[in-house]
C-alpha cells in the first residue's frame, strides 16, 4: 500500500526554519537523509520531494478570457506543504512509524521538532 507523508507549516514556521543556524539545519537534514537511506534499504522508499518557499505560491481559480486567474493571497494560518515522502509499506502502523521518525528529526539545539506529519493512503484506482 502506498502512503504519502506530508510535512506542512505556516509562513511563520518557514521563517523560523530559515533563521535556524547552519549547524542545526545540517543536523536536521542529516537525520532526514538517514531516514531516506533506511527506507531505500528496506525497499519502502518511493520518492521524496521538497517544495519551494510558500511566498512564491499561487492559487489559480479557473480562466477568464482564456487566461488563468491567479492570486497569491493566503491567510496567515494557511498550512503550506513543505515536503513529502511516498512510501510503500504493509500497514498504516508502519507508515505512522516512519512519520514518527521524521517528526523526531532534530530542530534548533538538537531538540526534536515534533512537527506534525499527515499520513494519507493513495486512492485505489
Amino acid at each position: 500500500m502506498k502512503y504519502i507523508l506530508l510535512m506542512s507549516g505556516t509562513k511563520a514556521g518557514v521563517d523560523s526554519y530559515l533563521a535556524w543556524s547552519q549547524k542545526d539545519r545540517d543536523a536536521h537534514m542529516a537525520v532526514l537523509a538517514g531516514i531516506g537511506k533506511d527506507l531505500a534499504e528496506s525497499g519502502e522508499f518511493v520518492v521524496t520531494q521538497g517544495l519551494s518557499d510558500p511566498r512564491e505560491a499561487k492559487f489559480v481559480h479557473g480562466e477568464k478570457d482564456g487566461m488563468p486567474v491567479t492570486d497569491g493571497v493566503f491567510p496567515e494560518s494557511k498550512e503550506f506543504l513543505l515536503g513529502y515522502w511516498i512510501v510503500e509499506v504493509e500497514t498504516t502502523a508502519r507508515a505512522c512509524a516512519i512519520a514518527g521518525r521524521i517528526s523526531a528529526a532534530p530542530g534548533p539545539g538538537g531538540v526534536p521538532t515534533n512537527m506534525p506529519i499527515e499520513v494519507r493512503q493513495f486512492a485505489l484506482r
Partner: protein, 131 residues
C-alpha cells in the same frame, strides 16, 4: 522547472463530492482523464496521484519514548490534499495556465468547478531555498 499543482478541499467539500450524481462524477472523471492524457501527450507530465478520504488521514508526532503519537483529529477548516499533478514546464505562466484547465473541471450540472489549485515550484535541491 518542475511545479506541483495541488487540489485541496475540506471534509465538507469531500462530503459534497461524494453526493454528486453518477452522471456528474463520470463527467468530472472523464475530464480529469482527458486532462492527464493531454499532459502526457504534451510531454510535461511527471507524476500524479489521488489521495484517500480525509477521514482516514492520521497526524503523527514523535513521542517522548520514540513511539509515534497518532491522532486523526483535524479542525473543520483544514484543507486536505485531494489530488496533485507534477509537471515539468518552461515557465510559471505555463504552470498557471495548466492549473486553470484543472480548475475548470466540470462540477454538478457540468458547470466548471473553478476549484482553487495551488501552484508551487518543487525544489531540485535544498539550495533553491537560498540556504
Amino acid at each position: 522547472m518542475k511545479y506541483i499543482l495541488m487540489m485541496t478541499g475540506t471534509k465538507a467539500d469531500f462530503d459534497s463530492y461524494s453526493r454528486w450524481s453518477k452522471e456528474d462524477l463520470q463527467r468530472n472523471v472523464e475530464f480529469m482523464r482527458h486532462f492527464s492524457t493531454g499532459l502526457k501527450d504534451s510531454g510535461v507530465f511527471v507524476a500524479s496521484e489521488g489521495l484517500g478520504w480525509p477521514h482516514e488521514a492520521k497526524i503523527v508526532r514523535a513521542g517522548e519514548d520514540g513511539e509515534p503519537v497518532t491522532d486523526g483529529i483535524f479542525p473543520e477548516a483544514k484543507e486536505f490534499l485531494a489530488e496533485y499533478w507534477i509537471i515539468d514546464v518552461e515557465s510559471p505562466e505555463q504552470a498557471y495556465s495548466i492549473a486553470a484547465k484543472a480548475s475548470g473541471a466540470p462540477g454538478p450540472g457540468g458547470r466548471p468547478g473553478n476549484m482553487p489549485i495551488e501552484v508551487r515550484q518543487v525544489l531540485s535541491s535544498h539550495a533553491d531555498l537560498g540556504l
